[in-house]
Structure formats: C-alpha cells, structure tokens
C-alpha cells in the first residue's frame, strides 16, 4: 500500500511551488505538531480583500508539506472570505489520497495553522 506516496505527493514535498517567505506579508501564523516535530509557518499578503500571495515554510513530513503546498496553490488569488471557509474536506480533496486517522494530523496541520492567521 505504497499509494500514499504517489508521485504528486512526493514531488510536492520535495519541490514545493509555494515555499518560502512572502515579501510585504500582512498576515502570518505558525503551527506545531509536538508529537512528531512537524513545524509550519504561513506568510500571506492580503490586499483589497484578496489573497495576493501565500507561502509556507515547512519542516515536516511529505503529507504535511504537500497539503500546505496544495492549499497555497488553491488559495492564491481568492477572496479572503474563501480563505476563511476552507474545510478539511477541501484539503483531503486536494490531496486526492486516503489518509489514515494517524496521519490526519499531518494533513491538517497546515489548515489549522492557516486558520489561526486569519
């Protein structure tokens, strides 16, 4: 059952498209999963009610990093109201893989940290 590590997930974790700091960030937040040591930091620049740029800095597992990167891609350019309404179902749909209960906290750390930012 190596399907958790599909090419897309590994590629996103190894070569994230939305990693790094955001120049002129207006919002930021962090999240930590103390049991496994995963750490994420979000930086967001919001202007006129629109997410102009959103990036993550992850020191985390492939699932967590891929989740963050897919979230950032989905939220770039959307109204802030949409950002506030992101759900765990949205995250799972973007990941497109079946997540076990144990790994759910990995997949959801970016979302919980993101909601703290806004």
């Amino acid at each position: 059952m190596d399907s958790l590590y599909q090419a897309e997930i590994i590629d996103r974790s190894q070569h994230p498209r939305f990693a790094g700091p955001v120049p002129g960030a207006t919002h930021s937040s962090g999240g930590l999963n103390a049991s496994c040591g995963d750490v994420i930091r979000w930086e967001i620049r919001i202007s006129n009610g629109v997410v102009e740029e959103i990036r993550h800095q992850c020191q985390a597992c492939a699932i967590c990093t891929a989740s963050a990167d897919l979230l950032a891609e989905a939220l770039t350019g959307v109204p802030t109201t949409a950002l506030k309404n992101v759900t765990s179902e949205n995250v799972l749909s973007a990941l497109g893989i079946s997540i076990s209960p144990v790994r759910m906290k990995c997949a959801m750390l970016p979302l919980s940290a993101l909601l703290n930012a806004v």
Partner: protein
C-alpha cells in the same frame, strides 16, 4: 530466540515487529496467568474467604518475584500503574520533605523521557525549585563528566534515564554515584529503568540509584503495571501520591494514619490480574535468563548496525549501545513519519517522531527520528525486510 512463545506472531505472521521499546508482546504464560487470575478472581487483601486469601498470596508473591528480579527486598517494591506514575509519585512526594527548601535544585538530562522531565517541571513550579540539565557528550550520550559543573550543595535530586529510549545510550549510574560521593553530595538518584530492565540484568544493590522505576508493558507483562523501587529508609518518610482504601491504619475526621511502605503507596483496588501477569513475565524472563537476553540483544543489534549503515541516506542517531536494542536514525530528505508510514504499509513496525524525548532531538539537531527497537522475539530475519524497505524508500524519494 523464543518467538514461538508469543502468540502475536502466529496471529500476525507477516509482521516485522521492531517497536518493542514502545511496548512488548506478551508470551503465552503471561496471557494464561491473566486468564487464570480472572477465572479465580476475588478482591485482594480484605476478603475473609479462600479465593481472596489465595489471590492475595499470589499478588504478594509477585512482589517477592519483582524484588528478586532486581536484587531488592519485597518491602521496597511498590506496584504502580506504570513508570510514569512512579516518577510522578517521587516528584510529588520528595519535595514535601522538610529538608527541601525553595531554591533547591533538581538535575535531569536532555536525554530523559518526558515522563522524567515533566513531573519535575511541575514540582519546580509548585515548590520554587530550580531545574538544571545534563547535556549530551560528543557521542550523544549523557555527559556525566559535566555533572560536577552543575552539581551544588542545593542539588536535592537527580532524575535520569538509565537507557535512553531514543539514543540507546546507557547511563553509567555507578559512575554518577561515584561523582556524587566524591563531591560529598547527598542528592537522591532516581533512575528510569524502562528501557534497561527488559534487556539486561539489574541489581539495585550496585546500581547507585536510590529509586528506580519501570513499566510492565515494556517487559512482556500487561499494561497497567509498573514498579517503583526505593531504598527502604527513603520510602519510610515519603508521603503517598494517592490516598484511599487499603493504605490506612486509622482514619479520623481530620487526620489519618497510613500503613508503612509498600501498602502506603498502593491506595485503591489494584490491577490485580495485571500484577499477576507481571509476575508471570518476570518468571518467564528469569527462566530465559537475563544474561542470555542481554547477549541476544547485543548480537542482534550489532547485526542491525552492520546492515543498516550501507543503506543510502541513512544516518544512525548518536552512538547507541548494542545492549539497549535501540537504534534511532534519520533518512536524508525523508521525514521520519514518512519512513515509518512506508515501512508500516509493508508491515514493518517501527516508531517515528520525537519518541517522548523532544529535548534529546533538539540536542541532536534533528526534528524527529525513526526508531528500531528489539525484543527477545526479534530475529536476524527481521533485518532484510527493513533494509529492503528503507532502500526502496530512498529511491522512491530520490529517484
């Protein structure tokens, strides 16, 4: 070594179980002892009828078995629900002594399990104590030689892991005692023996500790059991953590008098069946022989070292002692959780994360690690699937 004695492996023949530092499987004799206990169950210590008397005798016999297992006397053996309870009992009770004052110091180490550190953090807050830390040496073991630099006349206790559950290093407790003696320190030494007592012989008489704790479930016994050993002279002045039934001499409206140790520390109805199982586990280990267990762990760990080192991208954390049966590692460019998940999907059971030792990981400069840990049922046949899995994983992530 004795794999056929463990029903888990007949129920899960495909499993490569390398997570014994988290918990061990139970041999048939332990499972049978628990079943037999339930079939002859009765409240212990208080029933004036045959089944109660017989089970009470069995329960107290386990105390003698546990004492013999670590070279102690039965009066020094306190049954707890696990090592964590024992450690909390000590951090709760010791600072209540009149000799402890605000500003006194307790030393722990960065290699310690959270169950060692956190109770003393809480005690420090409650009593105004100062918490000081032993760091790691260049090999990643606890640097005992730096003890002198943080030891003071206000050091009241040193709580320390005997075998690190992450680093696999063994703390030279007799050496620690020598340093204290040389410095004229009367600091109390508390040893967390969870990861040592299952792997090699321990005799508290020569260990250098004043208190020692371990959990049953890491020792092939049922969960819900643990042992706190303490020197008789120290136990006699230690207040209980829990109060209630089965630990009192006399109860008044405002004051009550408690039984002497060990009963003073065993308030309430215990997990009798689990303690009976603990007795069976200790008897089983004694039959196998703890020196034979040590040799098995040692030889197998060396074989794991030899075959893990060539795995691409793999770095073994610190310098684990082969007697510990613990090997933690990281893989370049792959998070520990991904390693464990990938292996788990192949039914190779390892642990990943910070293993309740966040400070040890911080000291080693890694966010998390993967841990392989051996039991007496581990075999050389466990190595090849692990090595193949890790090699495949490396190539999956790195092409």
């Amino acid at each position: 070594m004795v794999r056929a004695d463990f029903p888990y492996f007949s129920h899960h023949p495909q499993d490569v179980y390398l997570d014994s530092a988290a918990t061990t499987h139970k041999p048939s004799v332990v499972i049978e002892a628990v079943r037999a206990c339930y079939e002859n169950y009765a409240p212990i210590h208080r029933g004036l009828y045959r089944s109660s008397v017989e089970l009470s005798d069995q329960y107290e016999q386990v105390r003698s078995t546990a004492a013999a297992f670590i070279g102690a006397i039965p009066e020094e053996i306190i049954f707890t629900k696990n090592a964590t309870e024992g450690l909390n009992l000590l951090a709760h009770g010791l600072p209540l002594a009149e000799s402890w004052k605000e500003g006194d110091e307790v030393i722990v180490s960065v290699a310690d399990h959270h169950a060692v550190i956190l109770p003393w953090q809480e005690a420090a807050k409650r009593h105004g104590l100062s918490l000081r830390y032993l760091e790691l040496d260049e090999q990643g073991a606890i640097d005992l030689e730096s003890l002198s630099s943080i030891l003071s006349e206000r050091t009241k206790a040193i709580a320390i892991t005997h075998v690190s559950n992450t680093l696999g290093s063994i703390t030279d407790l007799p050496r620690l005692r020598d340093i204290l003696t040389t410095r004229g320190s009367e600091a109390i030494v508390i040893a967390d023996a969870c990861q040592s007592v299952a792997h090699f012989p321990i005799s508290v008489g020569s260990l250098g500790a004043d208190f020692l704790v371990f959990s049953g479930h890491k020792l092939y016994a049922p969960a819900g059991t643990g042992v706190l050993w303490g020197r008789e002279s120290m136990l006699s002045s230690l207040p209980p953590l829990l109060t209630g039934g089965d630990m009192v001499v006399q109860v008044g409206r405002l004051e009550s008098a408690y039984l002497p140790p060990p009963q003073r520390f065993e308030a309430g109805t215990p997990a009798t069946e689990a303690v009976i199982g603990l007795g069976a586990a200790l008897g089983y280990l004694s039959q196998v022989g703890m020196e034979a267990v040590r040799q098995h762990t040692h030889d197998l760990a060396l074989a794991f070292f030899d075959q893990l080192r060539p795995v691409p991208g793999l770095s073994i954390l610190a310098s684990p002692h082969p007697d510990s049966g613990i090997i933690s590692f990281s893989m370049q460019g792959v998070h520990a959780h991904d390693v464990a998940q990938f292996l788990g999907d192949r039914r190779i059971c390892v642990r990943a994360g910070q293993q309740c030792a966040a400070l040890a990981h911080g000291a080693m400069g890694v966010p998390a690690s993967v841990r392989v840990s051996l039991g007496i049922y581990s075999t050389p046949e466990d190595i090849a699937p692990l090595v193949t899995g890790l090699t495949d994983l490396y190539h999956l992530f790195h092409g």
